[in-house]
Each structure stands twice: as structure tokens, then as C-alpha cells.
């Protein structure tokens, strides 16, 4: 079924596949990760947010306390958020497991997905440690359909990330959150604009602005390919969503350009006072990049 890559069939048989999850975790603990890998492949191939079975939630307790850290991290996205909200010890245990696992693209993807998901709940977001937040900086590629993307653009998450006062982390978060696969939530969108104006405005932010603008250019470029192209990886996407995404990301880009111009202007006024020898090489590059970004977008 997994080999056939039939998402509909996988979705219809998710309960049967989920029934194997506990056994796969125990086998992984015994040094046989084959079944767990197969399970994860099936979950990915199903292309659904809801690849879970609430009955398996009862297994979460043993899973989070007895399984190996890698198994905890990889399977945690298949546990319901309600269960985690009602069981903060599980979140703590997950955070411990994340701290213990070595970096791996697959694991990073799972950690960030779960991280954004947990962060969307004010009740448990405080249990996320700085170690866990630091995984955002690795910027893994999240799957087109996942709860991390879906819930990770809420104002709650944006506020939490901003609250960490780490501009690199915030930039990484925004680079992950902005993608051609999901529309930022309305409240999260507003919070992002506020963040752009407040957090990325100032001297020394030019580099971050440039990165964000370049990323938005890339996203808008992808969206420009049209719905048919995007549906290959996310079948449930609609034309309305695509248009909404284009509009939102365009607005975010404009906001970024606006503050970028302000930054350049501020930098220019400073140049009058500050001798040119004080200007760093980096500032010159940022300025040049900002001017380049202000040019009209190339058509795909």
C-alpha cells in the first residue's frame, strides 16, 4: 500500500496502520527500526493532517516514558494535541527526548512540526525549552501537510517566538512559516506584520530583511506556477487559498521592503555623520541587496 503510494487508501486504513505504531516503537527500542520507518513512510504518503487514531493516544504514556528518544520525537506528531494539553508531563518528556536526539533531517522535521504545534497552545508552550526552540534555526523542510504548518502561523506562536528575543530564531520561524503550502492565519498574519515592523526594523537588520525578502520572492515564485503545480504535493489546495496566499505574502513583502527602505534611509543619514571608514563591508552589501530587492519581480 505504501509502495503503491495511494494516499486515499492509506487514509482509509490509517487506523489499522496506527494500530501497529506501539509495536513498531517497541521493535525500534529493540534495535529493529524497520517497522517504524515503514509507519512513518505511510504517514507521509497519506498526505493528511489526521494520520492518527485517538485509541492509540492511550499508548502515549508508555510511549513518552519508555521509548527511545528518537522514537518519541518521530511518533509524537501522531498523538493528539488534546492529550498533550491535558498531560504536561508528556510535553516535558518530549522536550527531554528532543534534547537527547542527534540532528537528522527527518528528526528535525518532526521536532519542528511538533514544536510549532505545541507552541500554538498557551497551556503547554511554556514547557518548551530553549534547546527545543533552537531546532528552529536548523530550518528543516516541513511536509506540505502537517499540523506544524497549520497551527504554527497563529498569533500565539508568533508572540511566543517574539518573546524569546532571538532575531535569528524569529527569522528562522518566519522562513519556515511562510511557504507556498499554507496561508498564515489572519491573527498570525497581523502579528507577523507587527513583528516585521518592530523586530526587523533597525540598524543591522538589513541582512535578515534581505533573507526574508528573498524567501518571499521564492514563495511567490512558486505560487506563480499555478494551482495544478501545487496540487501535486498538496491535493486539497484551492485556487482561493492560492490567491489569498499571494495577497498575504505580497503584503508581507511590501512591509519588509518598506522597513528596508527606512533602514537604508536611516543608514544614509548616518553616513553623513559617520566616516566611510566606519561603514562595514556588511552594511554595504546589505544596502546593495536592499536596492536590488526593490526592483520589480521577475516573472516565472
Amino acid at each position: 500500500m505504501v509502495e503503491a503510494n495511494n494516499p486515499d487508501e492509506l487514509r482509509s486504513k490509517r487506523k489499522a496502520v496506527m494500530a501497529l505504531l506501539p509495536y513498531a516503537v517497541w521493535k525500534e527500542r529493540d534495535g529493529q527500526p524497520k517497522m517504524l520507518n515503514m509507519f512513518l513512510r505511510a504517514a507521509r504518503a497519506s498526505m493528511t493532517l489526521e494520520f492518527r487514531w485517538h485509541y492509540v493516544d492511550q499508548f502515549a504514556g508508555p510511549l513518552f516514558f519508555k521509548a527511545r528518544p528518537s522514537a518519541i520525537v518521530l511518533t509524537s506528531p501522531h498523538v493528539s494535541l488534546e492529550l498533550l494539553i491535558n498531560n504536561p508531563p508528556l510535553v516535558r518528556q518530549w522536550a527531554v527526548a528532543v534534547s537527547a536526539v542527534p540532528y537528522d533531517e527527518e528528526i528535525a522535521r518532526s521536532v519542528v512540526n511538533e514544536l510549532l504545534w505545541v507552541a500554538s497552545s498557551s497551556a503547554i508552550s511554556r514547557f518548551i525549552t530553549a534547546d527545543v526552540w533552537s531546532w528552529l534555526k536548523r530550518r528543516p523542510t516541513l511536509p506540505p501537510t502537517c499540523w506544524g504548518r497549520h497551527l504554527g502561523t497563529s498569533s500565539q506562536v508568533v508572540k511566543v517566538v517574539r518573546g524569546l528575543k532571538d532575531i535569528e530564531l524569529l527569522k528562522s520561524y518566519l522562513l519556515l512559516a511562510w511557504s507556498e503550502w499554507n496561508t498564515p492565519r489572519d491573527d498570525g498574519f497581523e502579528e507577523m506584520r507587527v513583528s516585521i515592523r518592530e523586530d526587523f526594523c533597525g540598524i543591522g537588520m538589513g541582512r535578515h530583511q534581505t533573507d526574508l525578502i528573498q524567501h518571499l520572492d521564492h514563495v511567490l515564485g512558486e505560487l506563480g506556477w499555478g494551482l495544478g503545480y501545487l496540487k501535486q504535493d498538496k491535493p486539497d489546495l484551492s485556487e482561493g487559498q492560492v490567491q489569498n496566499m499571494k495577497r498575504q505574502y505580497q503584503q508581507l513583502r511590501e512591509a519588509l521592503l518598506e522597513i528596508n527602505l527606512k533602514t537604508i534611509a536611516r543608514t544614509s543619514s548616518c553616513l553623513v555623520v559617520i566616516p566611510s571608514c566606519v561603514l562595514t563591508q556588511a552594511t554595504r552589501i546589505e544596502s546593495r541587496a536592499a536596492f536590488m530587492c526593490a526592483l520589480p519581480l521577475p516573472c516565472p
Binding site: M1, K13, K15, A16, V17, M18, A19, L20, L21, P22, Y23, W26, W53, Y55, V56, Q58, F59, P62, K66
Partner: protein
């Protein structure tokens, strides 16, 4: 067995009189007698088998007298008689008498052996568990059936009856040579006895409820009654064929040609020609018909005879009965017998524990479900929707629940339309309410819930059923898992390969989440359940044992 014992006692008493008398007479006259009554008669007959010394003495005396005075006997001088052997009548009578005696002695011999066999059968081994003793008893009973013990025992009275008939025949034959009037009385009474016996046997064959049953009647019923339809069919076949056969003969054609000649006047010259032709052709036609039709009839008879024989062998009741009886595994009959006959809860517990350890239920008798169910419901009572176990019956309730679940699952898979299921289902519905709550049954609420769902599968679908906190023993877990695989297959087929019931899938998920993991057989069963739901072809898994399934997986 008690009946046979009494029969043997009667036989032995009857024969022992004869046997004692016979031994006594044997020492006296070196001859054999059948009974105290017949012994004198046999001695009397036996003396006539030898030359009479008194006759020889009288002849010698006559010769001596003739020597002294040759006028005593006139012109007819006495001669010594020559012994030419006993008269034919005496020989025949004596032969029949000894045949009668031999038959009765042989039956006495068998009766003595039979007593020993019965004593051995009745002896009970006091060692071992109730199950072991019961198995021993079951083995003996199976042996009795397999080795036609009842037929041998029933043949003893029949042999005595034959002996009596022979005695009557011998007496009639002997007395016929001496005095016909006296012989007529004996022949008459013997004939009345034979006719009476014939009527009794006929009545016994005709009606099974007739109280005058004899061994002969039973044998005839077993062989003759099944043959009656065959015989009538055969007779009808012969009658219908005979007309066609006759019309098809050459003789019939010759007679048909000759028949118009009767209408001609007697003086017609054509009559002479007809007569010549007829006398020449008829023998030839007859021989040809005999050759042609005779072979055909013989072949038909052989075919019909073979068919009759096959039918007789095929429908002979005792053989079929034994065949069915042997198909049922002895352990199940043993357990069933213990549950039915014993009122002791300890015995019930031992029997059910044994049943619970039986991994394969091949060849089980569906009636054992009713026996398990009887014990099962006797352990529970309902307070509203709450089910509670009767005090002191906790262990029996647990074991009987498991056994009932095991057997009912088996029959659900094996024969979903079984009448036993209907009966048990109706009785179950009377005892257990639709929304029965098993939470007060702390030890095994899950197995009870599973049983409840099994009945709801048949009547309206199962209710939501959780396996949370289900931690059974390894043995119970194996049995439940094994049966749920079979039920999953059944339901998957019933729903046209759509899905299996979720409560069964939950069982698999729960079992696979246990830490430490359950036994391998349980894992195999759980993986099978998941595989069935995923659409894997596991039709072979239905007949596999848990261990075989593990190897298969």
C-alpha cells in the same frame, strides 16, 4: 453396561445348570447333555448309539436253549444278531442335540469372558485427576463402540435361543421315529414357539416402540428396513422390464405369427404348414431368447445386487453411528459428559480448565457450547444492567467465560447458521440485558464484553468496547487473540472486504502496546488482525494454530 451384566447373569445361570449337569453326566456315561431336563433324554438317546449288551445276552441264551432242545424255536434256529450301527434317526437327533449343546456351551464361554470384560470396564481408577479418570472412561466407552461390544453381548441370548430351537428339533426328530402321536405334540409345541418367536421378531422389526424387542429384531431392523426400499424398487424394475423383455423375445414373435392360424378351420392344409414351421422355429427361438435375454437378466441382477449391497453397507446404522461418534474428539465428549452429569462445581471447574487448555477445537461437538453456557450463566446474576458473579464462583465464572468465548467463537466461524447458536443466543438475551455493564466483574470484564459483542454482532452490531487495562494471563490472551483473528476474517468477508470490527482492531492495538510484549502467538494473532484489515490475504490463517500463525507471519 448394567443391562449387559444382567443379561450375562441370566445366561450364565441358565447355562450353569446345564453345564453342571453335563459335567456330571459326562463323568458317568461319557456323553453330553444340555440341561437337567434334557440330560436324561440325551442319555436315553445316547444309549441307542451303541449295541445293547442285553440283546446279545438274550440271543446267546436263545442259542444255548436251541442247542439243548432244538424244538423250542421250531424250524427257525436262533442266530446271533449283527450290529449294523445305530439307526439314522438316532444319529440325526443326537447330532442336533450336540449342536445345541455346543452352541449353548459356546455362549456360556462368551458369557464368562463377557463378565470379565464388564468387570474391567466397571473398574474405576481412583488415581489421577477427574479429567484423567474421565478420559480413561471415555477411552473405554470409545473402545466398546469401536469394537462392536454391544453386538457381541447381544448375540449371546440369540445363541441360546438357537440352542433351544435345535433342542426342539432334535426331540421332534427323535420322537417321530418312536411314536408319531407323541412326536406331534412336541412338533406342535416347538412350531408354536417358533411362530411365536417369529411374530415377536416381526413386531420388534416393525415397530421400535414395541416392548417385545429381541436381538434378532434389532439385527433385522438394521439390515432389512434399509433394504426394503431397494427391494421394492428392484421388484418394480423387474416387473416393468419383464413386459418389455417378453414382447422383445423371438418366441413371442413366433407365437404372434402363429396366432391368426387358430381362426382357420381345422381341416385347412395351411394348418399343417403352420404346425411344421411352429415346431421347428419355436425351439430355435427359445434357445436364442434364453441366450440373449438370460445374459441380460443376469447382468441386470448382478448390477442391482451390487447396488443393493452398496446401499446396505452405506446406510447400516451402527456403522454410520460409529463413524460420526469417532469424528468427535474424545476430550470434548468427556468434558461434555462431566458437565452434564456432575453437580459438583469442582468437577465442572476441572473439566472447563481442561477445555480451556485445548488449543485446537477440530472435531468438537457443538453441544459442548450449551454445556459451557449452562455453567457460564449459572455463575452470573443481573442487578439492573449490572452483572455480578455469584459469591464463591469467581474462579468457575472466569474459566467458564473463557471456555464459552472460545467455543462460541469457534462455532460462529465454523457454522454461523448453527441451531445451537440460535438456542444459546435466545437464552443469553434472557439473562444478559442489552446494555449489560460488566464493570463490577473485576477479573474479566473484557472477555465478557467480547462475548456480549459476539451476540451483538448477530443482533444489531457491537457497541463501543474498550480494552483499556486489559492484562490477561498469557493463556487467556492467546485464546482470545486466536478467536478474534477468526472472527476478524469472518467479518471482513461478511462486509465484502471493507473492514473488520473496530473493537477487534482495538484489541490488536492494545495487545501490541503492552510492555512487556505478550507471547509471540498473541503478537502473531494481533498482526494477523491488522493484516486482515489492511486487505492482506490471510484466508489460511483461519485454520492455523497461534504458533503456526506466528511462523506464517
Amino acid at each position: 453396561m448394567k443391562k449387559y451384566d444382567e443379561d450375562l447373569n441370566t445366561t450364565l445361570i441358565f447355562v450353569s445348570v446345564a453345564y453342571g449337569t453335563w459335567v456330571h453326566v459326562l463323568t458317568q456315561s461319557q456323553a453330553g447333555l444340555f440341561s437337567a431336563v434334557t440330560s436324561a433324554f440325551i442319555i436315553e438317546v445316547n444309549s441307542q448309539l451303541q449295541p445293547d449288551p442285553n440283546d446279545e445276552t438274550a440271543a446267546l441264551l436263545r442259542v444255548l436253549i436251541h442247542k439243548i432242545d432244538n424244538t423250542t424255536f421250531g424250524n427257525d434256529p436262533p442266530t446271533l444278531p449283527q450290529w449294523t450301527g445305530p439307526p439314522q434317526t438316532i444319529v440325526q437327533a443326537q447330532a442336533i442335540l450336540f449342536a445345541s449343546l455346543s452352541v449353548s456351551l459356546f455362549s456360556a464361554f462368551l458369557a464368562m469372558l463377557g463378565k470379565q470384560w464388564l468387570n474391567r470396564y466397571a473398574s474405576t481408577d481412583m488415581r489421577g485427576t477427574a479429567i484423567e479418570r474421565s478420559q480413561n472412561r471415555q477411552r473405554k466407552l470409545d473402545g466398546v463402540i469401536t469394537w462392536y461390544f454391544d453386538h457381541v453381548m447381544e448375540s449371546l441370548p440369540l445363541m441360546l435361543q438357537i440352542g433351544l430351537l435345535l433342542l426342539g428339533c432334535a426331540l421332534s426328530r427323535y420322537l417321530w421315529g418312536i411314536n408319531i402321536t407323541v412326536a406331534s405334540v412336541v412338533v406342535g409345541i416347538t412350531s408354536v414357539g417358533v411362530i411365536f418367536y417369529g411374530l415377536v421378531v416381526t413386531a420388534g422389526v416393525a415397530s421400535e416402540s414395541c416392548p417385545y424387542q429381541t436381538p434378532g429384531a434389532r439385527i433385522l431392523r438394521c439390515t432389512l428396513l434399509p433394504a426394503l426400499p431397494v427391494i421394492s424398487k428392484f421388484s418394480a424394475f423387474i416387473l416393468s422390464k419383464s413386459r418389455v423383455l417378453i414382447r422383445g423375445t423371438l418366441c413371442y414373435r413366433v407365437v404372434e405369427l402363429w396366432w391368426p392360424g387358430w381362426r382357420r378351420p381345422w381341416y385347412s392344409t395351411l394348418n399343417i404348414l403352420d404346425y411344421i414351421i411352429w415346431t421347428l422355429l419355436l425351439p430355435i427361438a427359445l434357445v436364442a431368447d434364453l441366450l440373449r435375454l438370460g445374459c441380460g437378466i443376469v447382468l441386470q441382477l448382478l448390477g442391482s445386487g451390487w447396488m443393493t449391497y452398496r446401499q446396505l453397507v452405506g446406510i447400516s446404522r451402527p456403522r454410520r453411528y460409529i463413524s460420526d461418534h469417532q469424528a468427535i474428539a474424545p476430550d470434548f465428549r468427556c468434558v461434555s459428559w462431566m458437565l452434564q452429569t456432575s453437580l459438583d462445581r469442582v468437577v465442572h471447574l476441572a473439566a472447563l480448565k481442561h477445555l480451556a487448555t485445548t488449543t485446537t477445537l477440530a472435531g468438537f461437538d457443538p453441544t459442548i457450547i450449551v454445556d459451557c453456557f449452562n455453567t457460564f450463566i449459572s455463575c452470573f446474576s443481573a442487578i439492573g444492567n449490572q452483572m455480578v458473579v455469584a459469591q464463591g464462583l469467581e474462579q468457575l465464572a472466569a474459566v467458564s467465560t473463557l471456555c464459552f468465548f472460545n467455543t462460541i467463537s469457534h462455532i460462529l466461524v465454523l457454522d454461523p447458521s448453527s441451531s445451537v447458536l440460535e438456542v444459546v443466543g435466545q437464552r443469553y438475551a434472557k439473562v444478559f440485558p442489552t446494555h449489560a455493564d460488566f464493570h463490577r466483574v473485576h477479573q474479566f470484564p473484557h472477555t465478557l464484553g467480547a462475548i456480549h459483542n459476539l451476540f451483538r454482532l448477530r443482533h444489531g452490531g457491537p457497541k463501543t468496547f474498550q480494552w483499556i487495562a486489559y492484562k490477561p494471563s498469557a493463556h487467556e490472551h492467546t485464546i482470545v487473540a486466536h478467536n478474534l483473528v477468526k472472527l476478524a476474517l469472518l467479518e471482513y468477508e461478511r462486509t465484502e472486504q471493507m473492514k473488520i470490527p473496530r473493537w477487534i482492531l482495538r484489541f490488536a492495538s492494545h495487545s501490541l502496546s503492552l510492555d512487556p510484549l505478550p507471547p509471540t502467538s498473541v503478537i502473531a494473532s494481533c498482526l494477523s488482525i491488522v493484516a486482515i484489515d489492511l486487505g492482506c490475504d490471510l484466508s489460511d490463517a483461519k485454520s492455523m494454530t497461534p504458533d503456526e500463525r506466528w511462523v506464517h507471519i
